[in-house]
């Protein structure tokens, strides 16, 4: 591994990103990965270090430039209309790490991801976290929390969903849930995740009958 990449990875603060380490552990060397909404490329760097063939899509120009500087392969574009050209099952995993809630048509994008990827890893802020529930109950206002630190007028998040909402969606669409995990800022949450987790992770795949 080259020194430059190792140095960049050391600079990234992964202490408070249990989700990123969890995803990096799921993926095997030599698998082909597409990271949708890859941001500054933290996850892609970890995967690259592991020998994973990883590429990303990102719409923020600053993020894209940073990724190129880090020697990552990133496509500057919008996933709402940037996936059609990819062939069926051409990736081992597609990753939507805190991206899906910012897209225009999440349902369509998830289906498109299931077409392109053998498996899809999807992570989103869990809207049924107790702090959010309490905040709505007590203040009667759209919640502003650590995890969703935006106001209704400046948030990039267009959709709000909970772990339970996502399970329901998968049932209606007959999507297979292969694995789930839940996190707060520092660690994995096992007990009552729909109440205590601030982040929900699902690994899903197309139902073979579909």
């Amino acid at each position: 591994m080259n020194t430059r990449l190792t140095k960049i990875i050391q600079e990234i603060d992964l202490q408070n990103r249990p989700d990123i380490s969890y995803i990096a552990n799921l993926i095997q060397t030599n698998e082909r990965i597409l990271d949708l909404g890859c941001g500054f490329g933290e996850l892609m760097l970890l995967l690259k270090q592991k020998g994973v063939r990883v590429q990303g899509i990102e719409k923020d120009e600053r993020c894209v430039i940073q990724c190129v500087k880090r020697g990552l392969y990133v496509h500057h574009g919008d996933i709402d209309h940037g996936l059609k050209h990819h062939l069926d099952k051409s990736f081992d995993y597609l990753i939507l790490n805190q991206t899906i809630q910012q897209t225009l048509n999440p349902g369509d994008i998830i289906k498109e991801c299931l077409r392109i990827g053998k498996k899809v890893i999807i992570v989103f802020p869990n809207f049924s976290h107790w702090q959010i529930r309490l905040s709505i109950l007590l203040s009667g206002k759209t919640p502003v929390t650590d995890l969703m630190p935006f106001h209704w007028y400046d948030t990039p998040n267009l959709h709000f969903l909970s772990a339970q909402d996502f399970k329901d969606f998968c049932e209606i669409e007959t999507i297979k849930i292969l694995q789930t995990a839940s996190f707060n800022r520092r660690r994995e949450i096992k007990w009552l995740p729909n109440l205590f987790a601030s982040l929900s992770l699902f690994v899903i795949a197309q139902n073979e009958k579909n």
């Binding site: 120009e61 430039i65 190129v68 990133v74 496509h75 500057h76 574009g77 990819h86 051409s90």
Partner: protein, 378 residues
């Protein structure tokens, strides 16, 4: 936009005084079966070739460019066309890389072209020069690269027509290129791009001095060529930049033939072009551009299935001559082939010419794209 042109002449970040050189090869057989005999290529080099010859970057120029990419010719005030990007410590760092900048065949800047002497007649070819394709230009460059003993180019890079050459390199010689940088370019001309070139060619053909290409140098089709360049120049700038630069201001000086500053700018560009370019070459090179086609969609994906290098593709939102969708065509076809590619669309207002202008973001994208590859190998 600030330029560093003159400050750098003696500064640390310039390659300094350079000279265009000429290689002569016995011959080159073109794609259409005809042969150029002898084959001449004008070129410049900057930096040092490493002992194992693994640090060479070939730089390909655009339509009206030449071999002079960086540094200064003796006595010149203006540096080579890509001096913003090539030099010690610059994006294409000559402390690390050996840069070869070659002039295309078919042009009029030293390489074999309509102005060259036909071996058989002893007179300039003029319009009897054979049709030259982008692939032919690349095959000529391959001879030059091989002459240096370079088996594998660390990178090939270019904007606009230079980008097409770089792309063609990755297809023609997939085992001989490690990195490919394509800026403001396309895998084939659209009808609109052909249309602009056609207007230019028709302006030259309509000039009474053109004489089916057999004009004398005292009576060249200057007006036609100047008009062709004027049309071209409109397409190089964005609407926004033109408005900013010229607005509806009156022309400077005593120009009788135009009422507007933008008009006098175009007239100046056209007239100065005539002094440094040949009308026949303009026709040959624009035809090479228009005929270049690796296709789009599935056809392009099939064409690019042979490539092996990593790619950096840069497009500009304000470029309406080679709009970003054309760069995306290339990127998508590479992605379908699982070829490593980075695509950046820069929101720079300067239009098609953006790839030539200083831009810190762009400089660091190119530098770091090259460095990340260099360190991975090293």
């Amino acid at each position: 936009m600030p330029t560093t042109d003159n400050q750098d002449q003696s500064g640390e970040r310039s390659v300094g005084i350079v000279e265009t050189k000429l290689f002569t090869f016995p011959s080159l057989t073109l794609d259409n079966g005809e042969t150029i005999k002898p084959l001449e290529i004008a070129y410049e080099t900057y930096g040092k070739l490493s002992p194992n010859k693994d640090n060479a970057i070939l730089v390909c120029h655009a339509l009206s460019g030449d071999a002079h990419a960086a540094g200064y010719h003796e006595g010149d005030k203006k540096p080579g066309y890509w001096d913003n990007y090539i030099g010690p410590g610059k994006a294409i760092d000559t402390n690390l890389f050996f840069v070869i900048s070659s002039n295309v065949i078919g042009g009029c800047k030293g390489s074999s072209g309509p102005l060259s002497k036909n071996g058989k007649t002893g007179k300039p070819y003029q319009s009897s020069f054979p049709f030259v394709s982008i692939a032919d230009m690349v095959n000529a460059q391959e001879k030059l690269v091989s002459h240096f003993g370079i088996e594998i180019l660390f990178a090939v890079a270019g904007g606009s027509m230079g980008g097409m050459q770089a792309l063609q390199w990755s297809v023609s010689y997939p085992d001989r290129v490690k990195n490919c940088i394509i800026m403001a370019s396309t895998s084939e001309h659209s009808a609109q791009q052909i249309a602009f070139n056609e207007v230019g060619r028709q302006a030259i053909l309509a000039d009474p001095n053109y004489l089916k290409g057999e004009y004398s140098f005292e009576h060249r089709p200057a007006k036609g060529l100047a008009l062709a360049r004027m049309v071209g120049h409109i397409t190089y700038l964005s609407d926004e930049l033109m408005r900013e630069k010229f607005g509806r201001k009156p022309p400077k000086g005593n120009i009788q033939s135009t009422d507007f500053a933008v008009g006098s700018y175009l007239i100046y560009q056209g007239e100065s072009f005539v002094d440094r370019f040949d009308a026949n070459s303009y026709i040959y090179v624009t035809k090479a551009l228009d005929h270049f086609s690796l296709g789009t969609g599935r056809e392009l994906t099939a064409a690019l299935s042979v490539v092996k290098c990593r790619f950096l593709v840069v497009a500009y939102t304000s470029d309406w001559l080679y709009p970003p969708y054309q760069s995306l065509e290339i990127v998508k076809s590479l992605e379908v082939n699982a070829i490593p590619v980075s695509f950046v669309e820069l929101n720079n207002p300067a239009g098609h010419d953006s790839f030539l202008l200083p831009n810190p973001e762009q400089e660091s994208i190119i530098r770091d794209f090259l460095l990340s590859s260099w360190e991975e190998i090293g």
